[in-house]
């Protein structure tokens, strides 16, 4: 399905290696780790500064969370309201149950227009449904117009972050890609010059390609309006120059009213890029004569979202507004970048969203790709309790394991089952401590420390020593002290 060159990250959860394996080449890549850590630290400090200056930040989070919960509890109502209003304003609304349907709807719309070229505004939803390779295979040339997406498209790379997808690429690497693919051998690595090169490269595309595909940050139910939040202006180009606009949006993107943007826009920009407001936000409603595309279509995508909606403890996953604050705050992501998650949605949100979109058939390693530190929950503008959902998903994965024969060969699984028995009675626990202490003496060196252990223990001792078990447990000491006192 995905004919990626060896070593090329695979962002298809059905094909990607499990997280503990996928991180290995990344952890051994100092340049990548440095690029990621630098980008993360910059966004984090910008965000922190702006949040600190916003005295009503927690109130905004409460409002944003409340709004999103309300929408999800009334999703059918708001989606129908959006559809009615968008249609009344001259738009066409389509419903796609899954990725395959969404792709086909888009292709059919393109064929109706005899379009064999499209310009695209970055949308993770299109990456989720693997739209680009599908369209290319059908003979449609897809031109990404976001700077990061061009870097990735020309460099034949995969996105590693949902807001700053090329965060793993530094300026020298961008220079190399542009010089080679845009035919600009004398290009320097100065970011301004690189940006100018992208601007020139795209100008002609904007002015000549009459069909655009993009996403939506918010769908406004009360008006049928669509809002797109961006920085560069390529969104504005795609929203005004072409004749046909196709907007792909997950069903959870809807907001009740225009006024609700007063909350969402305030939290989104600060969370995503550490700005009070991003450079350009556009809102349009259906079709406006003499201004912008006259042929406008919205494709509403389910693709697993309704099944997440059905589970009360998991539903909060859908509150997400794709700001990426969680991955910017995640100490795991900071070390691994996004590719290791094997999904277009990486980081903390990806760890809960991806397996659920896959109906828990794939990406079972992702809920474990977390130390449960809680930094993500702390920064999430819509208060998604990501650690809580991670724990629910871990329980589901473990329950899957309970039915699998290979559990008998899994030391971690067996160890935990045995530990449960040991903890069930104090005397069993104490007996285990006694024999454990004796057994571990085999591995304890003269200085009282263990340097190497077998089996799962080896995963500890590959980088850490372990102090040998003391001769007396606390409870034995206490018992002896009680006895002495008598």
């Amino acid at each position: 399905m995905n004919h990626a060159p060896a070593g090329h990250p695979i962002l298809d959860p059905r094909l990607a290696p499990p997280f503990p394996q996928a991180v290995l080449p990344v952890l051994r890549n100092p340049q990548l780790r440095k690029n990621v850590a630098h980008a993360i630290d910059v966004i984090q400090s910008k965000r922190a500064r702006l949040v600190a200056e916003k005295s009503d930040w927690q109130d905004l989070r409460t409002a944003a969370s409340g709004l999103r919960v309300h929408v999800l509890e009334n999703l059918a109502f708001y989606l129908e309201q959006f559809e009615a209003n968008c249609t009344a304003a001259g738009g066409h609304v389509h419903w796609a149950a899954d990725a395959a349907q969404a792709r086909q709807i888009v292709l059919d719309l393109l064929r109706q227009q005899a379009a064999n070229e499209v310009i695209k505004i970055k949308t993770m939803t299109s990456a989720e449904i693997q739209l680009n390779p599908f369209l290319e295979a059908a003979g449609v040339s897809v031109f990404e117009t976001d700077l990061a997406e061009i870097i990735l498209q020309l460099g034949e790379q995969e996105p590693s972050h949902i807001v700053v997808p090329a965060l793993h690429v530094n300026r020298a690497q961008v220079r190399e890609i542009f010089a080679r693919r845009m035919g600009l051998p004398n290009l320097s690595d100065d970011p301004q010059e690189l940006t100018n090169a992208a601007r020139a490269y795209l100008r002609q595309k904007f002015l000549t390609i009459p069909t655009a595909i993009g996403g939506a940050n918010f769908l406004i139910a009360e008006t049928g309006g669509v809002a797109v939040v961006e920085s560069e202006g390529n969104g504005r180009m795609c929203l005004t120059l072409p004749r046909t606009m196709i907007t792909l949006a997950g069903i959870e993107k809807v907001l009740p009213s225009f006024q609700d943007l007063e909350v969402m826009l305030q939290v989104l920009a600060r969370s995503a890029t550490g700005e009070r407001m991003n450079p350009y936000t556009s809102l349009w409603t259906g079709v406006t004569p003499n201004d912008g595309p006259q042929n406008f279509h919205v494709v509403l995508l389910d693709n697993g979202r309704s099944s997440i909606l059905a589970r009360p403890k998991h539903r909060q996953t859908l509150k997400c507004i794709r700001c990426a604050a969680c991955m910017n705050s995640c100490p795991v992501y900071r070390q691994t970048g996004g590719h290791a998650y094997g999904s277009v949605y990486p980081g903390p949100i990806g760890a809960i969203l991806t397996p659920q979109l896959m109906r828990m058939h794939y990406a079972q390693s992702l809920p474990y790709a977390s130390s449960l530190c809680g930094a993500c929950y702390e920064v999430c503008p819509v208060k998604i309790n990501i650690p809580e959902v991670l724990l629910e998903l871990r329980a589901e994965v473990t329950n899957q394991e309970r039915g699998q024969a290979r559990r008998f060969f899994d030391p971690m699984y067996l160890g935990l089952r045995v530990a449960n028995l040991l903890f069930s009675r104090a005397w069993i626990f104490h007996t285990a401590q006694f024999f454990g202490r004796i057994g571990l003496r085999l591995f304890t060196r003269k200085d009282g420390w263990i340097h190497s252990l077998p089996s799962i223990g080896a995963k500890w001792t590959q980088t850490r020593d372990l102090r040998g078990l003391p001769n007396q447990t606390f409870h034995s000491w206490w018992a002896a002290r009680q006895k002495e006192a008598k």
Binding site: F19, P20, V23, L24, L27, R33, P331, V332, R334, Q335, T336, P367, Y368, A369, S370, S371, L372, C373, G374, A375, Y377, E378, L391, R394, A395, T398, N399, M412, L416, R417, A419, N420, L422, F423, S424, R425, A426, F429, Q433, G436, W449, H451, I456, K459, W460, Q462, T463, R464, D465, L466, R467, L469, P470, Q472, T473, F474, H475, W477, W478, A479
Partner: protein
């Protein structure tokens, strides 16, 4: 004042000196301590690794064991977080009204050590003496689940002779994460390397925390790398006096 010590499974087995320090400290402060011999584990390791079914019985045992106890003190933030954040859901699911009532009554009586000292005993100066440069590591559970805030700092500020070195990136996870340290050992180690850099950069002799779990991870790397630093649980610092200095730490 009377209180009961829940030592935690890993402290009982691996860090009995922390338990001994808690006893020394609290008895010095006039607390009459007892210890329920039937205690084993709070169930966190199982619950956090996905073995939720196994955690039910461990939660039930804890509640039954301490249902009549005035105050329970736990020298481990993560275990208290388990009891506060996850027990409600587990107990609810068990559907036993009597158990639920017992748990609701018990919950406000469970304290992490620094919470007990500051909030219950209302003491900051515990009469400690520990003449060393020390870096304090804020474990994630203490920071974000228990919102310990400045409690540890207030306690350390009153320890005579102690030179507290501020730790850069204080709120960044050390990478232990329970079974994460083994299931994702490489990432855990990468996070540990970054944390260790910050800790060692303080020039401190000791790194302390309210959780031996983080300290086991940090200390294990310090020992492996001859980092010239040691770890010590804060209970041992607070118990330390001129007459009875903290037991030789790792």
């Amino acid at each position: 004042m009377r209180a009961s010590l829940f030592i935690t499974c890993y402290n009982d087995t691996l860090y009995p000196e922390t338990g001994r320090a808690v006893v020394t400290l609290l008895e010095r402060l006039g607390v009459q301590l007892d210890f329920h011999r039937g205690q084993t584990c709070c169930g966190q390791m199982h619950a956090n690794t996905g073995f939720r079914a196994e955690a039910f019985s461990q939660a039930k045992r804890f509640v039954r064991l301490y249902q009549d106890t005035e105050t329970v003190i736990v020298p481990s933030s993560s275990c208290v977080a388990m009891i506060r954040d996850q027990y409600p859901g587990l107990i609810e699911e068990l559907g036993n009204d009597a158990l639920r009532r017992q748990f609701q009554a018990l919950l406000p009586r469970v304290f992490e050590l620094s919470e007990f000292l500051i909030d219950r005993l209302k003491v900051e100066d515990v009469g400690a003496y520990f003449p060393h440069r020390v870096a304090y590591h804020a474990s994630c559970h203490g920071l974000r689940a228990l919102h310990l805030g400045d409690r540890p700092f207030r306690l350390l500020a009153k320890v005579r002779g102690l030179d507290l070195a501020p730790l850069p990136n204080l709120d960044r996870c050390c990478g232990f994460g329970g079974t994460f340290s083994v299931k994702n050992a490489e990432v855990s180690s990468a996070m540990l390397a970054v944390k260790l850099q910050d800790v060692v950069s303080t020039g401190a002799e000791y790194c302390t925390a309210l959780d031996n779990s983080c300290l086991m991870h940090l200390g294990g790397a310090m020992h492996r790398q001859y980092a010239g630093m040691k770890t010590i649980h804060m209970a041992q610092i607070l118990a330390s006096t001129e007459d009875l200095p903290a037991e030789a730490a790792q």
